[in-house]
């Protein structure tokens, strides 16, 4: 992992997330080249293709990547 993963949530959400695959996805996103800050998840996080839905990741222009999984199929 190049950066931390941060989830915005409350105690009940944290409990529900414990066995949720979206947490592993959040960790995977933290491996992306050029990612800055943290791999972030909003409180409506759930499993998506590649990135979790509710996921936010910023990558540096100089050495970062862009991933279609970070946008998904329903573009915009």
């Amino acid at each position: 992992m190049r950066v931390d993963g941060i989830v915005y949530g409350d105690a009940a959400m944290a409990k529900d997330l414990r066995d949720d695959p979206s947490l592993e996805q959040l960790r995977n996103v933290a491996h992306l080249p050029g990612i800055v800050g943290a791999s972030l998840a909003m409180p409506d996080v759930h499993w998506g293709y590649g990135f979790p839905i509710g996921g936010v990741a910023a990558t540096r222009l100089a050495d970062g990547v862009v991933s279609p999984g970070g946008v998904g199929y329903d573009i915009n």
Partner: protein
């Protein structure tokens, strides 16, 4: 509204047909194309993220299949979780922001959730293949092949962003057209002139997008590619990206809930700029799979229950209604409370449903 806005698979209006040249203009110009054809006014464009047009969109990068899927779908709602909902303002939490947004108690609003339809889906599918190869070419080690990617500064990366931007522009144009049809529906139903109806866009915002934006990193402004996947931009007061009419309060954020409870309007904050790359939540999030939701009860019974509570649903298919039942979603109030308390966007108003159209 149900008559004027096509919903469900294959539905479309005969009075909107796009030539290949129109299609090109839609992909290059986004919502401005729609306005140029009489769907809404210039002044609405400043109330759309990026003015309804992402720069650098290149229609030539879209496959024939993507263009074919998109052409009959401009000005269509689609199915799944897409909807248009008439609502009323049930609560105001932040008077100054609500006033700036033009919201007042008991006012009727309409929320539209739709995107780039089959065109965007195809763009994603086409580029996943390219990105799998690119990940190998550039020697990027991936914990999950679904995260396939390419350097921003590579032909593959640039091509994806240009194609994705074209799809985003299609989505902006799609909603602009439907927004105009909603306005016409209101005028038709109330038999009033458009000037009297004053149905105006509050805001139109993306929630599945990758965009180049500027943020402060270690005290210096830096251009970053922000991926928001099921996340909404939430720019603060004073930011040049916050539309001029709202610059003193912050950018509006639309957070749809489910069709039985409520949705929210929030406002962006400086804290979101520091912590979340100017982002916040985008909705309730499912708690039941579509299959589970379909088995959870009869859609006709659900429609009756909603009607008894004053919520009228018109849908192209009963299956979608069952899949989208309110209890299939988490309580969006919980989601909103978390982002509000964390300060990455704050509550402005709660909207409750009156009538919903779905695919």
């Amino acid at each position: 509204m149900y008559r004027n806005v096509p919903t469900g698979v294959g539905a479309r209006r005969r009075d909107l047909r796009l030539s290949p040249r129109d299609m090109r203009a839609v992909l290059e110009r986004g919502a401005a194309w729609a306005v140029s054809r009489g769907y809404g006014s210039e002044t609405e464009l400043e109330r759309v993220e990026e003015g309804g047009c992402l720069e650098g969109a290149d229609p030539d990068l879209l496959s024939t299949r993507a263009l074919e899927r998109g052409r009959p779908q401009l000005g269509t709602l689609g199915s799944g979780n897409h909807f248009a909902e008439l609502q009323y303002v049930a609560e105001i939490y932040d008077e100054p922001a609500a006033t700036a947004f033009g919201l007042r108690l008991d006012q009727v609003t309409c929320m539209i959730h739709s995107g780039s339809r089959g065109l965007g889906h195809q763009v994603c599918q086409d580029h996943l293949r390219v990105m799998l190869d690119a990940s190998r070419t550039y020697g990027i080690a991936l914990p999950d092949r679904q995260l396939c990617c390419a350097p921003l500064d590579s032909p593959e990366g640039r091509r994806y962003l240009a194609a994705m931007s074209a799809a985003a522009n299609f989505a902006f144009a799609n909603r602009q057209v439907m927004t105009h049809w909603v306005r016409e529906s209101v005028c038709e139903a109330l038999q009033i002139a458009p000037e009297a109806a004053r149905v105006e866009t509050l805001y139109d915002v993306c929630h599945n997008i990758a965009k180049l934006e500027t943020f402060e990193i270690d005290g210096r402004p830096e251009r970053l590619c922000v991926h928001r996947k099921g996340a909404t931009r939430a720019y603060p007061p004073g930011h040049p990206g916050t539309p001029a009419p709202y610059r003193h309060v912050g950018q509006p954020v639309l957070v749809p809930g489910d069709m039985g409870r409520y949705s929210y309007v929030l406002v962006g904050t400086a804290r979101a700029m520091r912590e979340t790359f100017g982002s916040t939540c985008h909705g309730a999030g499912r708690r039941m799979s579509r299959r589970q939701a379909k088995r959870a009860g009869d859609a006709r019974v659900l429609l009756g229950e909603l009607r008894d509570r004053g919520i009228h649903v018109r849908a192209a298919g009963l299956a979608t209604v069952a899949e989208e039942r309110p209890e299939a979603y988490k309580d969006v109030a919980d989601v909103v409370r978390v982002v509000h308390e964390a300060g990455v966007s704050t509550r402005v108003a709660q909207l409750r449903p009156l009538a919903v159209i779905k695919g």
